[in-house]
Symmetry: C2
Subunit: 684 residues, 2 copies
């Protein structure tokens, strides 16, 4: 207890590092780091346990900077504690190929747990990290073996608090009674437009109370270190509710512009930077100065963290003796590998099996593998019965007091909160012991676009089970029928978009989704029944695209996905009756197909004959895999799905008409190259 | 006052119509209409003024069914009051080409104000409608001329309440003190996953109090008509806060499954439908029955509404004598036409003008036209200084008590609430007197995707000012640099995506955005400076794509947008030095280009030589306009923008390298068609 001059020096070192890095970059946000340096110093030194030499230690306390624009705060801390962030990395803040980009990226910087900056996301990630901790503890902790005891701390500002994703996540966390989650609200009254009085005048703490949170206030967040410590201590003591601490701070504390928008998103002017350093007792003419006593203080805490990890390792080894199977499971999960042979559980189908909707095929996968893949947590945004995301004997993840489930439960009721669901899944995946999968309608994955993007950017193994994937959902109509959605996510780097055509392809989608450690997946699934196709295989589909129906004399290739593949198979017969031979390629995942060798790709989409793509939504992007495209570049229609398909001519006759026009159009072109045969390689 | 048997009969008629329509369609949601029939009956008959014969009367009260899945409630009301919705339309509920689709669509059904169903959207639309009313009243009402006095009523359920977009919108409405907004929360404790206890246990009214709302509760929403009336009356009496009435109802009231999830999203079984009718005194063997006294009651209220409109017309005529200019302006706005000659205000540039960022060019447009186009309301999601959305002498739209602006203000501080901003803009545009435009970073338009989609589906003239449109934003890095965003919105039907290359093209984007009455626009704008280009014109750019640099001997066409067009112009010189002639097409809006005659399109992207597209983001979709594509199918990088461009080779040398590879690759292909020359027409 008690704070001395070294604490003051530590806090001011963080502030001056933020001033210097943003000044040197001539870019960035000094205000938040200067305002939040005190709480960061107190939190990291008095409460958090972590080992900078092993940022992956599973029982470390998690820290999330949801107001990620203040990342110089985090980079400064990582440097001071001895993570793999050097003073040169700080000098290269916001420079090309540095590990200190403009906003924190988990994939790039040791010690950054999750990728933040897009406002509100970190808050949702933190809820996911807290759920993961509760669940992992419930599964693995045993008497005498409190393996998992960590807390999740999240800083957020007014921007995060205004975003809907954080509201959704906060409501969810309140319902789930996540006592291991402590949020610190940087109540600095400033956002980019200036004083929050101009747009944000709600009572934030009252709102959090309404969600079921424990709330506290620290009035003098700039100077009352003891008060900050006491508040965090009280927050930790409340274990049946998440806590939020409202901390009144001065943005840009120390600057001549402190407390104004002028210090939010712009570096300090040279003279201001100097006066800040003078005020804090630093040499105004030096930059990036870290006094040795600051390093000493932080190294000491880092050493305590390293020792804690050693203790934990000993405990875990002993655990291995008493709980062998759990130990094996836990150790395996931390590698990211799945249990050996798990894939033999994946359902395999024959053409004679009864037609079934791919959302049901997805359910069959979950039913078949959930015992073997215990790290899989499923859930839905209040569409459980429609998404078919719940295996029969699933237990809900719920606070035991609700009597609706328990902490070991593997089924999450996310509520109608798609965006927070996705952000929480990013946190769940980041924790290290869980593979999250959850459902909504494909059309409403768009509500979560901000978080889905970060699944991809931060290399998270997250599975989006996206049912009702087209006009095939029928009566719900245009408001619910995706047109642009697959194009959207196909354009997103490092995202696998799957649209399986039948049972084997659905198994393939899960196979790839579960074994791709650094890539999220969206699996688009039908509401309507689909037949199982001749020649469909898990192996073929796992290449992203493959020949389903070959004919060496074909005059055209039909390239299709999902529910339209079987219609294309019918079209082959329809065309044959007119004396035209055709072949069919099923392309359940273009991203995976893109990654195949060029030879293979050209064997699938052949040169010499034209290819026609068939998919009941936007044609955008299909030009890459076909010479002509049949799709739906307009909104859909409300009605029984077969009638909707007929209205838009997605029938053998409708496809054949376009196939014949395509054959005719390309008959004179020599050489007719495969569309996947390109002049140069794309940058990746 | 007082409710009689006819009221009861009216309410039960609504219920049985909902039962019959969903039963006949074998699809739909009977539960919400059955539960909310009482409040709908009271609200429409006792409080709302409207003329079914003229659904566009500007001073009508607005009704929004945010829980749009309960649309049979709305369709039944529209029918009973005599809007253009016949009993046959009810019988065709959820059938192809009916005007009674699965969720309410404003563009299709007379009397439906906004398109709802995607949860939370209607709530945000209602906030926009209420803002529009306040603003329009402030501009046009004069002593003795209360032209605009309407209220906005919105129904919402648990699903809407869980969505982040409604939280954002509610916080905004509380800040704005929208006393003309009354929300009715259908607290039926049921969502699709069953009891709300499993995911939604917050105190909703306390949350709304925290936002600054006036809150009320009606415990017996199924039967206490008088209590409902009293609550709405109290809500109307509070004029400095929006009101929310929590109404405890029984979902599927009357059904054997009332109060359960079983009646939420599925029609009643045949026997249940019969017992409901028996219970309500209807013949169990008849369907779609409307007793004459119900029509009589509703027709009477409709006639009162028609009379009210007549009175209003007389008042408006008199207003024309006393306030001629305002009258002219108001009358013109209602036609959707802009003031004659407004377009002469659009800035025009010469190549010798200084380079400037297109976000600043956008600001120059707003500065130039805001006086002439008074219906234009601008705003930003807390990025005013970055989006450059505010003209110099703009007044904020704020409650006068804040002393930060007034109701006549034309600049909205939306806060960091992109999704609610977009949903509110859909409401603003729906009101009929306003053209809303507002800014955020292009990357965060994705946060608003759910609402942006509905701008397009419901044909709203909404303008998204999307700055920081690429890796050209530089230091903020990959979390903020759009890659997939333009592909996403280009795939969305009825959406114009603009990426102007310079000043004239920016003016063209606004010209088209403002004159397209039924199509929203996203205008993607740079942070970095751009030169004004030789041959760029408003007229050319208004065709979506045009030849900027012609050369009849060219070996290749470079097709580009925005900030890359000037680099392509440099590339022409670079290639010329190597003896290769090239031409440049600027394609600021592919959607508009698509709509040009085929001849024109082929004159722009010529046959006989290959085309290479150049855009610093996903190449997805560019295959439609080019033979080869140079783009960025990976995430960007944090650093000074010129270095980021160099890293990814978006330089004359990098483009030329790919241009040469393209020329070489296609030299043998005969005939080399223009990529816009297609085998068949797409459905639209």
């Amino acid at each position: 207890m008690g704070y001395d001059k070294t604490d003051e020096l530590c806090i001011n070192t963080i502030r001056t590092l933020a001033v210097d890095a943003t000044f040197q970059a001539n870019s960035g946000h000094p205000g938040a780091p200067m305002g939040m340096a005190p709480v960061a110093h107190v939190l990291f030194n008095k409460f958090m346990t972590f080992n900078p030499k092993n940022p992956d230690w599973v029982n470390r306390d998690r820290f999330v900077l949801s107001n990620g624009h203040g990342c110089m705060l985090q980079y400064a801390l990582l440097h001071l504690f001895g993570y793999g962030v050097s003073i040169n990395d700080l000098k290269n803040f916001r420079q090309v190929d540095s590990i200190t980009p403009g906003h924190p990226e988990a994939h790039d910087t040791p010690g950054v747990e999750v990728t933040t900056g897009p406002l509100g996301q970190g808050f949702g990630n933190a809820v996911g990290l807290a759920i993961a901790q509760q669940h992992t503890a419930a599964v693995f902790n045993k008497p005498g073996f409190d393996l998992i005891t960590n807390h999740t701390y999240v800083f957020f500002g007014d921007g995060c608090a205004m975003e809907g994703v954080s509201s959704e996540a906060a409501s969810m966390a309140g319902h789930l009674q996540l006592g291991n989650l402590i949020a610190i609200y940087d109540d600095n009254h400033i956002s980019i437009d200036g004083d929050t009085a101009c747009a944000f005048t709600e009572d934030v703490l009252k709102r959090f109370e309404a969600y079921g949170w424990h709330t506290l206030t620290v009035e003098k967040g700039d100077t009352d270190y003891q008060g900050i410590e006491e508040a965090i201590r009280q927050a930790k003591a409340v274990t049946d509710k998440p806590s939020v601490i409202k901390l009144r701070t001065t943005i840009g504390f120390g600057s001549k512009l402190e407390g104004t928008g002028g210090v939010h998103g712009n570096p300090l002017k040279a003279d201001d930077a100097k006066q800040v350093k003078q005020k804090f007792g630093f040499n105004p003419d030096e930059m990036f100065v870290v006094p040795q006593e600051v390093y000493d203080r932080y190294n000491k805490h880092a050493a305590e963290g390293a020792a804690a990890e050693e203790e934990w390792k000993a405990l875990f080894a002993k655990y291995g003796q008493e709980h062998k199977d759990l130990h094996t499971d836990f150790a395996r999960r931390l590698t990211g590998d799945l249990p050996e042979g798990w894939q033999t559980k994946l359902p395999v189908y024959k053409p004679s099996d009864a037609p079934v909707a791919s959302r049901k095929l997805s359910e069959a996968v979950l039913e078949a593998i959930h015992d073997t893949v215990p790290e899989l947590l499923s859930g839905s945004a209040d569409l459980t019965g429609s998404n078919n995301t719940r295996w029969k004997n699933a237990v809900d993840f719920q606070p035991p007091s609700t009597k609706l489930g328990d902490w070991s439960g593997r089924y999450l009721r996310y509520g109608v909160r798609e965006h927070a669901m996705a952000a929480a899944m990013n946190g769940l995946a980041a924790y290290g012991t869980i593979i999250p999968a959850a459902g909504t309608f494909l059309n409403f994955v768009s509500y979560a676009a901000g978080a889905v993007r970060l699944s991809a950017l931060s290399h998270r193994r997250v599975i989006y089970i996206a049912t009702h994937d087209s006009i095939g959902l029928g009566e719900d109509g245009p408001t619910h029928q995706p047109i642009e959605t697959l194009a959207h996510f196909r354009a997103l780097p490092n995202m696998m978009v799957w649209r399986p055509a039948d049972g084997n392809e659905t198994s393939a989608a899960y196979y790839m989704a579960l074994t791709s450690k650094g890539t999220p997946s969206i699996i688009a699934l039908t509401r309507q029944n689909l037949p199982h196709l001749e020649n469909s295989t898990i192996e073929g589909a796992s290449k992203g695209g493959y020949v389903l129906k070959e004919d060496k004399d074909a005059a055209i290739t039909l390239v299709s996905t999902g529910s339209e593949v079987s219609i294309c198979m019918e079209t082959v017969k329809f065309l044959a009756e007119k004396g035209v031979k055709s072949r069919v390629v099923s392309m359940p995942c273009t991203e995976i197909f893109d990654a195949q060798p060029k030879e293979y790709k050209i064997s699938v989409i052949r040169a010499g004959i034209p290819a026609l793509s068939v998919e009941v939504m936007s044609t955008l992007g299909w030009e890459k895999y076909s010479h002509e495209q049949f799709g739906l570049n307009r909104f859909g229609a409300s009605g029984p799905y077969k009638q909707v398909y007929e209205k838009f001519e997605f029938t053998p006759a409708g496809i054949a008409k376009r196939a014949l026009a395509t054959i005719e159009f390309y008959k004179d072109v020599k050489p007719l190259r495969s569309p996947v045969d390109r002049a140069f390689q794309q940058l990746i």
